[in-house]
């Protein structure tokens, strides 16, 4: 059997599938009639992504300004420029992916897992290239403090991302939550780079980078909870 014959057979079988009844269509249209009102379409992807980028970067810079910019001041202009430019690039990528995850039928650049993994790898490579102090002093204690501080800034950034994208529709709420968590996590990493003065390579590699996957996991959990809650309160208007 060649491809054309198989194609014909599949189409023939598809043609024999049951057809939708006119009564059902009438019921659907009648159900929608009372709910008809104009809606404003979502803004273009680049506008939404720019808003997300500015919101996440804004949270990072405002919280770093209030906590102190000692980290970026100690980095030096060249190193600070390289690190912040790379973080801006990753934040832009994550923000664009977040917009795609909230619009059905969008073309995805990366899924949430490849996004988080590639961002973590890029951050690890960047930090390994820029920091060369291989001592470890109070690795766990100072590391946990940085992780908590990064997540404390990621949470408001995540809430802001959710507020900005609340009109979107997540086809996969867990994946969309993880992507939103990645955007928020990057805001936490930016905050740490601006604020933290511990330049030990292992500290930055392990604990600063860890903010991103931790925030993505929290985002995925929030997405799963939001999905479960929406399932509980959804009631069909079509009868």
């Amino acid at each position: 059997m060649n491809g054309k014959e198989l194609d014909t057979r599949i189409r023939k079988a598809a043609d024999a599938l049951p057809v939708v009844s006119p009564a059902l269509l009438t019921s659907i249209t009648a159900g929608l009639k009372p709910a008809m009102r104009p809606v404003k379409p979502l803004a273009p992807t680049w506008v939404l992504a720019t808003r997300l980028f500015l919101a996440a970067a804004g949270v990072a810079f405002v919280s770093a300004a209030s906590a102190g910019l000692a980290g970026v001041e100690s980095l030096g202009i060249l190193r600070a420029t390289v690190i912040l430019a790379a973080l801006a690039l990753l934040l832009g990528l994550a923000a664009t992916e977040q917009v795609h995850s909230m619009i059905p039928g969008s073309r995805h650049l990366l899924g949430p897992l490849p996004l988080v993994l590639s961002c973590c790898l890029a951050l690890a490579a960047l930090f390994a290239a820029e920091f060369h102090d291989y001592r470890t002093t109070s690795f766990v204690a100072s590391g946990i403090a940085c992780l908590i501080a990064g997540l404390e800034r990621a949470i408001p950034a995540g809430i802001l991302v959710w507020l900005l994208m609340r009109r979107g529709f997540a086809i996969n709420p867990v994946a969309a939550g993880a992507t939103a968590g990645a955007v928020a996590g990057l805001a936490g990493v930016v905050f740490l780079e601006l604020h933290c003065t511990n330049f030990e390579t292992l500290h930055i590699l392990a604990w600063h980078t860890a903010v991103l996957p931790a925030s993505a996991v929290l985002g995925a959990a929030a997405g799963a909870l939001a999905w479960a809650a929406s399932r509980l309160r959804t009631r069909s208007p079509i009868r």
Binding site: L17, V19, L24, P104, G105
Partner: protein, 177 residues
């Protein structure tokens, strides 16, 4: 779609009448009963109505529509898993209350695509039943064109081997009779 977003009921009716047959056949091709396909169609339009603002002028309509339909089907599948997990199975009760005509017309499709895994079956349903392009299927399934091509190719290969084997079986029967 623009008129539908602007609140034009006639445009909504036209859209429902034009796209529902494709959506219904897509659901019917996914191993669900006629009644479930009807319910899924209703649920899909309810959800489309709720998120109609997420379609932007210039975006392709079918991937947007089928991404929502696919999500509805997945939610329905998970819900039915939760429900059936709590049910006590009684033999021969499954078809009670379902009219004899409910599964009519599905026989050939079911028989043909039965050996395929759900992902390949879904891709073939989108390509052949909903008549979407590879790019549209990739967008609707949050996948890539390459992955869709691969699934369709593997599905076709499985079907070709199976149908050829069935044809060979007939020849052998004919030879021994």
């Amino acid at each position: 779609m623009n008129s539908y977003q602007a609140g034009d009921f006639a445009a909504a009716t036209a859209l429902i009448e034009e796209l529902s047959p494709r959506l219904h056949r897509f659901f019917a091709a996914q191993s669900v009963s006629r009644r479930d396909a009807d319910d899924l169609l209703q649920e899909t339009w309810m959800r489309i109505h709720r998120v109609r603002h997420t379609w932007r002028t210039g975006d392709p309509l079918l991937p947007w529509l089928f991404a929502i339909a696919r999500r509805v089907r997945i939610d329905h599948y998970r819900k039915s898993l939760r429900t059936t997990a709590r049910e006590e199975q009684v033999e021969s009760i499954s078809e009670l209350g379902v009219p004899a005509s409910a599964s009519a017309g599905k026989g050939e499709w079911e028989a043909l695509l039965a050996p395929l895994p759900p992902a390949q079956r879904e891709v073939i349903a989108m390509l052949k039943v909903a008549e979407m392009t590879l790019e549209e299927v990739a967008r609707a399934t949050s996948s890539t064109v390459g992955a869709v091509k691969q699934k369709a190719h593997r599905g076709y290969e499985t079907l070709r081997v199976r149908l050829s084997a069935m044809g060979l079986g007939k020849d052998r029967k004919g030879g021994t009779a």
